[in-house]
Amino acid sequence: MKLLFQSVRWRLLLWYSLILLVLITGLCLLSYRLASNYRTDQIDREIRSFQGTFFRSLFASRPPSDKKDSESFDKILERLRNPAEVSSFPPELHALFEGGEGGSYIAFWDSDGSPLFISANAPANLCPPTTPTTENPTKYIEKGNFREHHRANPDGIRSITGRDIRAEQTELRNFCLLLALGGSAVWLAGLGGGWWLAGRALKPIDTIGRTASRIAAGNLDERIQIANTDNELDRLGHVLNDTFERLSAAVERQKRFTADASHELRTPVTIILSETQRALKREREPEQYREILANCRTAAERMRALVESLLVLARQDLPTSGTEPVPCDLADITTGVADLLQPLADEHSITVRRELSPTPLKGDPHSLAMVVQNLLSNALVHPPSGSTVVLKTFVSTDGTILEVSDDGPGIAAEHLPRLFDRFYRADSARGQINGHTGLGLAIAKTIVENHGGRIEVESNRGTTFRVVLP
């Protein structure tokens, strides 16, 4: 039961049914009331017109000479006491004298309460009305199956004109029953419609929910089916699909990164395993042991470089990785790194030209130094010896710029779009040979982007890496 009420469909239906019930009941009550009032008014009008007919018939044969004087009042009394022959009355009034059930009846009483005229068809225990007073001389009363008009004349004569309303009451009851049945039918039909509508409205949500749970369960390629209308649910579907798209891309990137990282770690591990197994297989000369140990060390150093790069990347990937930005100067940082890498430049016979103008900015000097180092060591390793590498820092309208250019053979255009991808190597050889992990440019890109900047590469004759920091 609790589960039923947690279902949106059921709750919608419950509220809907309540509102519909109130509306239908109100409408039924209103129409019953209107019908009943109309009926009563009609009965009252009939009673009054019956009274008129009676009096007109009473005096039709012998009209009173002057009804204002007391003599004529007595005449009226006299006439009431002894109405004329039945035949002198119109046929619709014959029942008054012949008795019988139903129809209208009329009765008059004198001021002392003695009956003047009581029609033969009047109910048996009809007594003179007491309630009407001189202030409020007439009154309509419904008594059982009869509706009566009670009247007290100022001269003391009291009258009751009544009418049997059984037929109307039955009719009204039937109408009431009809309303109840009709109302219930409409309510039930409404409920059915509501259930169908709620189901129809919720079906896409249900589909979205099921698709989303399948995606959450690991089927990242699945997407929510979206009809080509632009309603709320389709927009929700689009939003969810976009989210799933980004999520799946992130997972895919992570997967590839992990696969690549493990792939890069496998080769040095293979070397260490192979070398140690070879060393342990037989007795050797100290010289051979030294060589094997040196190989193992090289492999281990490679792994260290890779693990360090992975850690840097992991730290940079954290949303709160950056330490508080501090004021620093990109030119100073570049100078420091260039000094540090001078031996490498000498080793490759590469001239490093520095064109550094002061470029103050706010950032993390340690990470920025890593960017400069990765770009510069790339520029020192890849071009042939004898090349010139130019380091430039300056402030332009775009922001703070760092440029590292070499006059080497350049990088083929097909590699440029993927150059900053993790583990992507333009030469497709295992670049670890020079201590390069294939992560340097990826690290530089991540750091620059964490600083809110961007990194670009341009290569035709020679290669230029440009870092733009805001």
Binding site: A259, H263, V269, Q277, K281
Partner: protein
């Protein structure tokens, strides 16, 4: 037995080739796809150890091109252990598959198995008139006693034993016993044959003059 190792990482190439040489194989090396393919086409190696990720032509491409002309047994090494990569390698014509990092002993065992299969043999021990050639332990036993042979002598016996019944030319023997770095003298083979005959009996290896040698 002469092997070709194609691997672009210089350290691993060095380690593998040295390790294999110590296991009495004649080993040629290649550091990239083009060189590897050229050598594999030129020489009938007993087996090729091929890395998947190579600069230039990658391992799978190399294999596909080599298979157009040669059936040399190929053992692929790769750092990718995803099933599609393995399937791709085997379908391209690799005979066996090892994922890095691997155990060097396993590599040796798989190479032995490859060579044995390509010679059409079922077990690793060959028996010829009371002389056992154990290709797994790489020793020769005569009447149950291990016979001390030099690496070259063992290689000669093993090669002739694997090709028992057929005449093996001197050129073929040279090709399979010496790698590209050996400066072989033409009479060196005769010296080895004569030494083996001294140790295992004169009739073990017969000479077909003008054709070559044979173990019957």
């Amino acid at each position: 037995m002469r092997l070709l190792v194609i691997e672009d990482d210089p350290l691993l190439l060095h380690s593998l080739s040295e390790g294999l040489r110590e296991e009495l194989y004649a080993v040629d090396t290649a550091a990239d796809g083009e060189e590897g393919l050229r050598k594999a086409r030129e020489t009938d190696y007993d087996s090729i150890v091929l890395d998947g990720m190579l600069p230039g032509i990658d391992g799978w491409e190399l294999l596909a091109r080599l298979r157009r002309e040669k059936k040399t047994p190929v053992l692929m090494l790769t750092a990718r252990d995803a099933v599609p990569d393995r399937i791709r390698g085997l379908d391209a014509g690799a005979d066996d598959y090892l994922t890095k990092p691997f155990d060097f002993e396993e590599l040796l065992a798989r190479l032995r198995a490859l060579i044995r299969r390509s010679s059409g043999l079922g077990t690793s021990v060959l028996e010829i008139d009371g002389i056992e050639v154990d290709t797994a332990a790489r020793i020769v036993r005569h009447g149950g006693e291990a016979v001390s042979l030099t690496p070259r002598e063992y290689g000669l016996v093993e090669y002739l034993a694997l090709h028992r019944g057929s005449v093996v030319s001197r050129t073929e023997l040279y090709e399979h016993l010496f790698d590209e770095s050996d400066d072989t003298l033409s009479n060196l083979l005769d010296v080895h044959v004569s030494n083996v005959r001294k140790k295992l009996g004169a009739s073990f290896i017969s000479t077909r003059r003008g054709h070559g040698y044979c173990i019957e």
